[in-house]
């Protein structure tokens, strides 16, 4: 209520100032012309490579034929969307996508936060640097390489992991050949690859915390655990929120390549996600319109999620993307 009255009260003055404001904008642009000039390439980049291609999404509403193009293809309305929702496998694939996204959010998202706090507690600078560099490294490996390594490590006959399990009397498990392990493998490989790299932003935020806060806490008798809980975490919260919101926006975009390289006949049932389905149906079977519809659906869900997340975050923590 109070918000409404506030905007209502502001409105008249806003209208009065309108012409004035227009002038202001042009004057501001003129004043900061160099900055605007510098930003032209990136603005052009977004227009040419992001906004104009968005228009291509109309093929989701057409029966697209590459020789007829956008103009000549027949319009079919929401037929492709209907077909998608009717598809017998749609629920299974959506379910996989959501579940894998959820696991990723629960397990992979907090991992860099924990690692960053642990790294922050290291006292020996040389050791800290070495550890940091080592944990960054997997990020620069391609998924194909990681998949190859995983196949070797997880192999039931020659894999290290199964030999380790064997020491505890556990029979070898065929991790990549079993529906019940594939999601764990997918999320786990992501954690291994990206946790270290994900700490960069958190470490930067940690470096910015005023050391006097810790000194004061020590004088008040807080131990390290208390200090972490009361100082470090609250100080990290804005960074966590922003990254969380960005993550939410990509909730359904688990990524094509990292899943594709792990899939085989024995784990597709639980491992296939929307991205891999789009690849199979769209690029391999050349159903461009249908898969554009699936992709569009995915983007819209992502947009709704990020807007809702942003709204709640602004309401509760005051942090938001925009």
């Amino acid at each position: 209520m109070s918000n409404q009255t506030e905007t209502a009260a502001r409105l008249p003055t806003g209208i009065k100032r309108k012409t004035n404001k227009d002038n202001n904008i042009w004057r501001l642009i003129w004043k900061y012309k160099v900055l605007y000039l510098i930003s032209i390439p990136s603005i052009l980049y977004f227009i040419i490579f992001k906004y104009i291609p968005l228009g291509g999404s109309i093929i989701a509403f057409q029966e697209y034929n590459i020789f007829k193009g956008f103009g000549g293809s027949e319009w079919v309305g929401f037929a492709h969307f209907a077909e998608m929702f009717r598809h017998y496998d749609f629920l299974r694939i959506l379910n996989n996508t959501v579940l894998i996204g959820l696991y990723d959010l629960i397990f992979a998202f907090p991992a860099p936060i924990i690692l960053a706090i642990l790294l922050n507690e290291l006292r020996l600078i040389v050791f800290k640097r070495v550890v940091q560099t080592v944990v960054y490294m997997p990020h620069f490996l391609s998924w194909v390489v990681i998949a190859g390594m995983s196949v070797a490590i997880l192999s039931p006959t020659t894999g290290v992991l199964n030999q380790l399990l064997g020491l505890f009397g556990i029979d070898p498990l065929y991790f990549l050949g079993d529906n019940s392990y594939i999601r764990t493998v997918l999320v786990g490989s992501g954690i291994w690859r990206d946790t270290g790299y994900g700490t960069i932003l958190y470490l930067a935020a940690l470096a910015g915390i005023n050391p006097e806060l810790y000194e004061a806490a020590q004088i008040d008798g807080a131990n390290r655990w208390k200090q972490t809980l009361r100082i470090t975490l609250p100080a990290l919260l804005p960074t966590i929120m922003i990254l969380f919101l960005l993550h939410i926006g990509k909730f359904l975009d688990f990524g094509f390549e990292r899943v594709w390289v792990f899939l085989n006949a024995l784990n597709t049932e639980n491992g296939e996600i929307l991205d891999t389905y789009i690849y199979r149906a769209g690029l391999l079977s050349q159903q461009y319109s249908y898969t554009t519809a699936v992709g569009l659906f995915k983007s819209i869900v992502g947009l709704v999620l990020v807007m809702a997340g942003n709204f709640f975050s602004r309401k509760t923590t005051g942090e938001s993307l925009y």
Partner: protein, 526 residues
């Protein structure tokens, strides 16, 4: 002072750029000038310029070449045929996607290389859309040798609505894949060359006793590991339809035989005759395992025989590879699926001004001069002549072998690709390989009814759609699970029902309708 320095630097940079650009252009100019020295007026209109897209086919020589258009063999070919080609390579792995991209962006070369027929996926409906020109009249006038040498089956594949649209590179013997065995190991077991499925299993068991890690080399999705599906004639592949009780249906719907084939694999799996992890064995591991001497029997393309033999002997000195007749099933036949009659094909852009020149270019490809050039290279450099006798130095180091293969199989665009007769006849192993093709492989292989253009119903659901050598994903899942014992084999009829319910019924309906009208239907060759 500083300003001057930076200005000078900029100028220098600009100069070097210009120099760099003109540097690349200069040789071309020179060549044109020297070429035009003798017949000044003729050279201008005699050299045919055209662009052509070619798939790299995984050829090391092609993919490593910094600029294929500057390659010496391309230059020689251009010289001999009075052409100036602008070769645009299409990456082997993304061939289909790149081809579609090419059509979608309307950046279509004058000559486009396809694979097989006129309506394949890679052509993306371009022939139907009128992108290429019909060639019948042109062929009659300018390509008499092509018409004479290329078999009718191959021309049939290049026809769309009664008109020929492409020039095929043909395959005289479509039976390409073969059953390979480590003859040295077989001799150790004391067993004779196996013939039936049971005899094969016994040999595999004997291999296991010898301590061979992979008696039968498995691979994911049964690709290149489908020997026993061939024995029972149940390949779940694209061109494997058959007529049963007046109905056209995919061969995997023959439940009895399919279950027998699956049981064979299950037995192999249970007894450890096939790797327990075959569901995750990729092509690289497959090849490496075999070349490390850890496999007893497997499937590979016969033309690789000599190369693999050499590579295998690097690790296992006494290894001896042999191609044996594939295991026969209840009908006394066996073998692998047959390849298409056409290996590569060439389409001419409807907008191109001088199609007759291109027809002549391809017509030259089937001449004796071309055969000699592509097989042996250039006199004095690659071979010497004594009277009529050609002394060809067969290359030994891998780079030279790559170059030879490139010349014989990539650059020679129109030929019978079964094998290169000229170079195989030079050695003993080559001669025995030719005999494998002519005697063993020619007598085996499984073919089925084929639909080209492919059935519309297949386009809708990738899950139920087989590829030329892979079963539909839906079936692979069940097949692998059955072999792993995660699902009973007796469930196969249910799997068929599932396939039908997910769009298979439409496939059957369309297949039978098409079969009745005989439109785009190719009957089994064997």
């Amino acid at each position: 002072m500083k300003k001057w320095a930076s200005l000078a630097l900029t100028c220098m940079l600009a100069m070097s750029f210009l120099a760099g650009c003109s540097g690349t252009k200069e040789p071309a100019k020179e060549e044109a000038a020297s070429g035009g020295d003798k017949p000044v007026e003729a050279a201008a209109d005699e050299v045919t310029k055209f662009s052509i897209s070619l798939r790299t086919l995984n050829f090391g020589y092609v993919e490593k070449s910094p600029d294929i258009n500057a390659d010496k063999w391309v230059k020689r070919l251009e010289e001999m045929t009075k052409t100036d080609m602008d070769i645009r390579l299409v990456p082997h792995k993304e061939y289909e996607q790149k081809m579609v991209q090419m059509f979608a962006t309307n950046d279509i070369p004058d000559v486009v290389q396809g694979q097989g027929g006129t309506t394949g996926k890679e052509m993306a409906g371009s022939v139907e859309a009128g992108v290429f020109m019909p060639l019948d009249d042109l062929l009659k006038e300018y390509g008499p040798h092509l018409l004479e040498k290329i078999p009718k089956e191959a021309w049939n594949r290049m026809s769309y609505k009664g008109k020929i649209y492409g020039i095929p590179e043909w395959l005289g013997n479509p039976s390409r894949r073969a059953t390979w065995i480590r003859k040295d190991l077989l001799d150790q077991t004391g067993l004779p060359v196996p013939k039936t499925v049971d005899e094969y299993l016994n040999v595999l068991r004997a291999f296991k006793k010898l301590g061979v890690e992979n008696p039968y080399m498995g691979r994911q999705d049964f690709k290149y590991a489908d020997t026993f599906f061939g024995s029972y004639d149940v390949f779940p592949y694209l061109n494997q339809f058959e007529e049963s009780d007046g109905q056209v249906q995919p061969k995997f719907m023959d439940s009895d035989n399919m279950m027998k084939a699956l049981s064979t694999y299950k037995t192999m799996f249970d007894e450890g005759l096939i790797n327990k992890e075959f569901a995750t064995i990729n092509p690289t591991t497959f090849k490496n395992t075999i070349l490390a001497g850890k496999a007893g029997m497997w499937t590979m393309n016969a033309n690789e025989l000599i190369q693999w033999q050499t590579q295998l002997q690097d690790t296992v000195k006494d290894a001896k590879l042999e191609i044996i007749p594939s295991p026969v099933g209840p009908d006394g036949k066996g073998g692998y699926y047959l390849y298409g009659d056409v290996a590569r094909s060439y389409f001419i852009n409807a907008k191109y001004k001088h199609p007759e020149k291109i027809i002549q270019f391809f017509d030259w490809m089937v001449s004796d001069e071309a055969e000699q050039f592509f097989t042996y290279g250039v006199e004095g450099e690659n071979y010497t002549k004594e009277g009529d006798q050609i002394n060809y130095k067969q290359p030994t180091d891998s780079q030279a072998v790559d170059e030879e293969r490139y010349r014989q199989a990539f650059l020679w665009m129109v030929q019978d690709t079964t094998y290169n007769k000229g170079s195989l006849s030079l050695t003993e192993e080559g001669k025995s390989l030719m005999s494998v093709f002519d005697n063993t492989l020619a007598n085996e292989g499984r073919d089925g009814i084929e639909f080209d253009p492919r059935l519309e119903a297949f386009k809708k659901n990738p899950d139920i759609t087989p590829l030329s050598d892979t079963p539909p994903p839906l079936l692979i899942t069940h097949m692998v699970k059955m072999v792993y014992g995660q699902e009973p084999i007796e469930n196969w009829p249910k799997v068929i029902e599932e396939w039908k319910s997910k769009g298979g019924s439409d496939v059957l309906k369309e297949a039978n309708e098409r079969y009745q009208t005989k439109e785009g239907v190719f009957l089994p060759r064997k």
